[in-house]
Amino acid sequence: MSRITQTLSALDAAGRKALIPFVTAGDPDLSVTVPLMHTLVEAGADIIELGVPFSDPMADGPTIQRASERALLKKVSLRQVIAAVAEFRTRNTTTPVVLMGYANPIEAMGVDAFADAASAAGADGVLVVDYPPEESREFAKVVRAAGLDVIFLLAPTSTDVRIRAVGEIGSGYIYYVSLKGVTGAGHIDIDAVSKRIPLIRDMVGLPVGVGFGVRDGASAKALASVADAVVIGSRIIEEIENSPADEILPRVKTLLSGIRAAMDSVEVAA
C-alpha cells in the first residue's frame, strides 16, 4: 500500500479529512522549500503537493504563475525539486509528497529518469496537469512501475466514460477541480460538488480531494463536509508573496493551522 493510500485510509478510519496544501518549489527561493514543507506538516498538512515550476503554466491562475516565475528566476529545475524531496525525507518519512506540474519539464528529463529519481527521492505521487488520461497511459505505466501514484484531475464536465478511464490508470486520490477556471479563481458550488463526489468515488474507487477556490477556514470546512480531502494552493502562495522573507514560515503556519482547525470541526457523517 502506498504512503498516500495509507495516509488517506488512516484518516478515513479516524473520521478525519485530509488537508493538502500546495506550494511551488523554489518560491521565493529553493532554500525556503524544505523548511516550508516541514512547517506545512507542523500546521496540520496530511499530504503536500509540491509544484514544479514551468514557464507556461496554462491551467494556473496569475498567483501560481507568479510563484513559478519567481522560482524560474532562480533557475529552479525539476532535478532540484526532486532533490528537495530527498532532503525533506531525511527528517520526515511519513507525510506523502506529490509532485505537481506540467509535462514538458518531465519529458525533457525523460519519463524513465524522472520516475526513477522521484521514487528514489521518496516522492509518492505525480500529478501532471496537461496529461489527461488519453495522453498518459504509457506515462502512468512507467510511473506506477516505479512505485509512484498517478493522480488525475476530474472536472464537473468529466463524462462517466472519462471518470472510469481515470479509475483504470489513476491511483492515490482524485483531484476534483471546479470548472470555473484556473487555480485561485472564484468559488465552488458546494451543493453541486456534494452530489458529484459520491458518484466519482463509486466509479473510481479512490478518495476524492477538492480544490480550486479554497480561500479560508469556512470554505475548507464546507468542502471537508463533502470531500475526502481539501486542497489549498493560491491562498498559501499569496501569503508567501506578501510576507517578508523571515516571516514566511510563521505566517503560513498560522494560516494553515486555522484552516486545519476549521476542517477538524466538521462532523463526519457515518
Partner: protein, 410 residues
C-alpha cells in the same frame, strides 16, 4: 528519418492525418487540463458534423469570395526572378485579402462554427496583431463580443494594430505575465476560455493548440493550396516544382502545403525565422533547432532549455516569433515530406526591400522570409523551374519596424 514512401500517383486519401485522437504520428494530441476536455470534445464533434455539410461549405465559400475577395491571384514575379537568376518565382497573393493576410480565411471559418454553437463571445490571442485584427473584423461583421489577448510588449510594439482592433469594437487586454509576448497571450486566452467556456469560443490563429485546432485551422486555410492547384496549371500548364512558405506557428504554410501533400513531385519547403542567426541562440526556428516537447495543448518541436522551460524567441517579424510550431509540420519534417530551412533577419529585410523595389509589392516581414529563401534557391536552378511562394501578408503593419532598421524616424 526516411522519406515518406508515396507512390507516384497518390490519392488524397492516402494521407489522412490527424488520426481520430488528433495525432500526427507522435505529434499533436490533446495535452490540456481536464477542465478544457469537454469544451474541446464539443468543438471537435461540432466541427466534424459541420465541415462537410453543404450549407456550411457554401456559406464559407460565399464569405471567402465576397468578403475576403478570393480567389487571391498568383503573380509571376518576373523581375525578382531575373535578379535571382534562375527559377521563375510566382507569388500567391494572400496579401490582397481583406485585412491584408491569410489569417482571415481561418477566422471566418471558426467564427461560423462559433455562431453555429450559439456562442456570442469570441476571444483570440495575437502577437503582431494580424490575427487579432482578423478576429475583431469578423466579430464586428457577425455582431459578436470580441476580446483579444496581447502581450504588453506587443501592445507597445504594435500600437497601430491595437487601435485597429479597438476601432472594430474589440477589447484588447494587455498580458503582463511571463515574457509578455504571444505565448503568454495564448496562455491567458486559454484561461479566459476555461473560465467562460459556456458563452465563449476561442479562435486560435494558427495550426497549433490542442486537437481539433491544428486540423480545423489547416482545413480552413487549405483554400490557399486548393486554389493554387488549379491556378498553376492555368498559368504554366503544370504544378510548381516547389511550394515555399514561412513558418511561425505555420498556418499559411499548412494552408498551401496540405493540398500538395499527395503530389510527390512538388517539394514543400517551410522557412523559419533564424533571427540573429541559429548559432546566436536568438531565433524562432523551432523545427530547425528545437526538440520535441509539450506546449499549448500539443506535442511538437519547441525551443526549450535543458530543463524543459520554454525560452524566449527572436525574429524581426513578430508573426514568426513563437517557440513552438504546428504539430503537422513536426510530422511532415520527421517523415521527410516537407523540408524546413531558416532565413535570418538581414536576409528577410533584403528580400523585403527587393520585393518593394522590383515588383511594387510591399510584403509582410513574415512572408519576406519565404521570398528570401525562394530567391536563394532559384539561383541554382534552371530558368524553366517554378517556385511558388505564399505571400501570406502585406507589409503595411511593418512600416515602423523597417523604418527603424533603416535608421529612419517617422
Amino acid at each position: 528519418m526516411g522519406k515518406l514512401d508515396l507512390p507516384a500517383e497518390v490519392s488524397a486519401s492516402a494521407y489522412n492525418l490527424p488520426d481520430t485522437t488528433g495525432h500526427f504520428g507522435p505529434y499533436g494530441g490533446t495535452f490540456v487540463a481536464e477542465t478544457l476536455i469537454a469544451a474541446l470534445d464539443e468543438l471537435r464533434d461540432t466541427y466534424e458534423s459541420l465541415k462537410d455539410e453543404p450549407a456550411f461549405r457554401a456559406e464559407f465559400e460565399y464569405e471567402l469570395k465576397h468578403y475576403v475577395g478570393r480567389p487571391s491571384p498568383i503573380f509571376h514575379a518576373r523581375r525578382l526572378s531575373e535578379v535571382a537568376g534562375g527559377a521563375q518565382i510566382y507569388l500567391k497573393r494572400e496579401d490582397l485579402n481583406h485585412t491584408g493576410a491569410h489569417k482571415i480565411n481561418n477566422v471566418i471559418g471558426q467564427a461560423m462554427v462559433a455562431k453555429h454553437m450559439g456562442k456570442p463571445r469570441v476571444i483570440a490571442e495575437t502577437g503582431a496583431g494580424q490575427h487579432g485584427v482578423a478576429t475583431a473584423t469578423i466579430a464586428a461583421r457577425l455582431g459578436m463580443e470580441c476580446v483579444v489577448y496581447m502581450g504588453s510588449e506587443d501592445v507597445k510594439r504594435q500600437a497601430a494594430n491595437v487601435y485597429r482592433m479597438k476601432l472594430l469594437g474589440a477589447t484588447v487586454v494587455p498580458v503582463e505575465c511571463g515574457s509578455k509576448t504571444l505565448k503568454d497571450a495564448l496562455n491567458e486566452a486559454m484561461r479566459d476560455w476555461v473560465t467562460n467556456v459556456a458563452n465563449t469560443f476561442y479562435i486560435i490563429g494558427t495550426v497549433a493548440g490542442p486537437h481539433p485546432y491544428p486540423m480545423m485551422v489547416r482545413d480552413f486555410q487549405s483554400v490557399i493550396g486548393e486554389e493554387c492547384k488549379w491556378q498553376m496549371p492555368e498559368m504554366i500548364g503544370r504544378q510548381p516544382d516547389a511550394v515555399i512558405a514561412c513558418v511561425g506557428g505555420g498556418s499559411n504554410a499548412m494552408g498551401i502545403f496540405y493540398p500538395y501533400i499527395p503530389y510527390p513531385d512538388v517539394r514543400l519547403i517551410g522557412v523559419e525565422a533564424a533571427g540573429h542567426g541559429i548559432s546566436s541562440g536568438m531565433h524562432s526556428a523551432s523545427l530547425c533547432a528545437g526538440r520535441p516537447g509539450v506546449l499549448h495543448g500539443n506535442r511538437t518541436y519547441l525551443l526549450q532549455d535543458e530543463n524543459g522551460q520554454i525560452i524566449e524567441t527572436h525574429s524581426v517579424s513578430a508573426g514568426l516569433d513563437y517557440p513552438g510550431v504546428g504539430p503537422e509540420h513536426a510530422w511532415l519534417k520527421d517523415c521527410g515530406r516537407a523540408e524546413y530551412v531558416a532565413i535570418d533577419d538581414e536576409e528577410a529585410l533584403a528580400a523585403f526591400h527587393k520585393t518593394c523595389r522590383m515588383e511594387g509589392i510591399i510584403p509582410a516581414l513574415e512572408s519576406s522570409h519565404a521570398v528570401a529563401y525562394a530567391m536563394k534557391m532559384a539561383a541554382g536552378m534552371s530558368k524553366d523551374a517554378v517556385l511558388l511562394v505564399n505571400l501570406s501578408g502585406r507589409g503595411d503593419k511593418d512600416m515602423h519596424t523597417v523604418a527603424e532598421k533603416s535608421g529612419i524616424a517617422f
